[in-house]
């Protein structure tokens, strides 16, 4: 990162955060301008074209009405966030070892791997009603549906990651006499991380989708539940408030994964180019 040296000299604390924000605005001002214009257009357009408020509310109305119901919204954000983070975390924790095992076992590669590829082709959300009917309205079926959405991209990318060490590096490691564990720790694992992160990021984008749809199908709390109820009550303003919070939730998860990527593989070309 070319800005690393100037960051080191920047003052600590709030000033530093302000500095990073200022630099971000400096780099992305055109996007910020575009984004703000969209909302301004939305705000003015609703009045200008006399759109009924039960069809499309103004952003200011969304903020105002959302703020009035903020306690419920925040609690539901916590619920949906919990489902998302649990499902995602479990997917990473079991997905990576699964990928590793499949990459190195010819038996698993001929049995479990084609199964996983086939399942990845299935629209997994189609299983959601079944899990709700099997497991009820609680947290567990939601977490399982999030896992269903996140697990396969993580496993498939991990298989690719652990299976594609270059022939040269493989031979180099063998010629040192290093055992499997040492080779794994010092070469295979770090070499596999970039491709693993492709799966982690793809899954992070889809995790909130899984949680929301699971809540649509059967639940009594969470943002998905909230959006469905308020839409039924002709309150699109509150539905939009819920959608904003869901977006924020998704962005936070994706941001954290991207941050982890920067910390773990700063040397990789995809990170260096940013």
């Amino acid at each position: 990162m070319p800005t690393a040296s100037s960051e080191g000299e920047a003052p600590r604390g709030l000033n530093r955060i302000a500095g990073i924000a200022a630099r971000w605005v400096g780099k992305s001002w055109l996007f910020v301008l575009f984004f703000v214009s969209l909302f301004v257009f939305w705000e003015i357009g609703v009045d200008l074209f006399e759109v009924p408020r039960y069809i499309l509310p103004k952003p200011s109305t969304i903020v105002e009405k959302g703020w009035a119901d903020i306690d419920r919204l925040l609690y539901y954000t916590y619920i949906t966030g919990l489902e998302t983070v649990l499902g995602y975390g479990i997917s990473v924790i079991i997905g990576v070892p699964f990928g590793l095992a499949i990459a190195f076992s010819s038996i698993l590669r001929r049995t479990v791997y084609p199964l996983f590829v086939s399942i990845e082709m299935v629209p997994k959300i189609a299983f959601a009603p079944l899990f709700i009917s099997w497991l009820g309205f609680g947290l567990l079926p939601k977490v399982i549906i999030v896992i269903l959405v996140c697990f396969f991209p993580i496993v498939l990318n991990a298989i690719l990651a652990f299976g594609s060490l270059s022939e040269e590096l493989t031979r180099f490691c063998r010629s040192t006499g290093a055992n499997a564990w040492r080779t794994f720790l010092k070469v295979r694992l770090p070499a596999a991380l970039p491709q693993c992160f492709v799966g982690f990021k793809y899954a992070a984008i889809n995790a909130t989708v899984g949680a929301t749809i699971a809540e649509f199908i059967g639940s009594d709390q969470g943002l998905g539940f909230y959006i469905q109820i308020v839409t039924g009550n002709m309150r699109p303003d509150l539905a939009f408030a819920g959608i904003f919070l869901l977006t924020l939730l998704g962005l936070t998860l994706f941001g954290l994964v991207t941050l982890a990527e920067r910390l773990l593989i700063p040397w990789h070309i995809s990170v260096r180019r940013r």
Binding site: R171, F172, S175, G177, P190
Partner: protein, 255 residues
């Protein structure tokens, strides 16, 4: 001092049945301790396969390879190995990459600190030891790869076209460093190259390999003074030696 290598009727066939490809051999070769042997030949003539078999990374289909009279049955850890595509990893610095070879062997890099400093100096990498490979030029990467391959002071170095991807000027420079390194510690070197001139400059012995299946067609001892600097390369004898090998390839329709 280097190890003694010997190949007796070594052959390699890939696959079985009618689709089998006879890649190499039978090849016979003896390399004295401290010799620098170049395998010269066109692409696909089995040079690399021959080298991998000496390293114990690829079992021969027939024949026997010995290192100091000991048969090669699996990967040998007393060699240093280097490929055209280097084995530097992007998450480590130059120094870290050199240490990687030691760490994989379970050796303590701190015990080799002086050796690493020495190698970095001799390969003109001073000031770059804390850079990562992608911050270096292709030539510097290959210099770092030399250090990585040789840090554990192997008796034998197997170098598979280590300069293959470099430009002519950089090749010339690194050849000089490589020769200086070899002359100080005299490991046994097996060096794979396409370049006849490179082979003549660096080697005690040049093996002319002809393709499909790869055979050691001629073994030529290069009797020129050391170090083979610019003066030697300009000499009549050097030119004659290069021309003689070119004629052999020409006779086989390769050149």
């Amino acid at each position: 001092m280097g190890a003694r290598l010997s190949l007796r009727a070594v052959a390699k066939t890939f696959g079985t049945g009618p689709s089998a490809v006879h890649a190499v051999g039978p090849a016979d070769l003896t390399v004295p301790a401290g010799g620098f042997v170049s395998l010269v030949g066109p692409s696909g003539c089995g040079k690399s396969t021959l080298m991998l078999m000496i390293a114990g990374l690829e079992p021969p289909s027939a024949g026997e390879i010995t290192v100091n009279d000991e048969p090669v049955t699996g990967p040998r850890t007393d060699i240093g190995i280097m490929f055209q595509d280097n084995t530097l990893v992007p998450w480590r610095t130059v120094r870290g990459n050199i240490e990687l070879n030691l760490e994989l062997r379970g050796l303590d890099p701190r015990a080799y600190a002086d050796r690493i400093d020495d190698l970095i100096r001799k390969t003109h990498l001073t000031g770059f030891e804390h850079r990562r490979p992608y911050e270096l030029s292709g030539g510097m990467q290959q210099r770092a790869a030399f250090c990585q391959a040789l840090v554990h002071e192997p008796q034998t170095a197997l170098l598979d076209e280590p300069l293959g991807k470099l430009d002519a000027m950089t090749r010339e420079l690194i050849r000089g460093d490589l020769q200086a390194l070899w002359l100080t510690s005299r490991p046994t070197v097996v060096f794979v190259t396409h370049s006849i001139e490179e082979a003549v400059q660096l080697s005690t012995t040049v093996c002319v390999i002809t393709p499909r299946p790869g055979r050691i067609e001629r073994v030529i001892d290069i009797d020129l003074p050391w170090p083979r600097d610019r003066a030697v390369k300009r000499s009549r004898a050097f030119g004659d030696q290069v021309a003689e090998i070119q004629e052999i390839f020409h006779a086989y329709g390769v050149l």
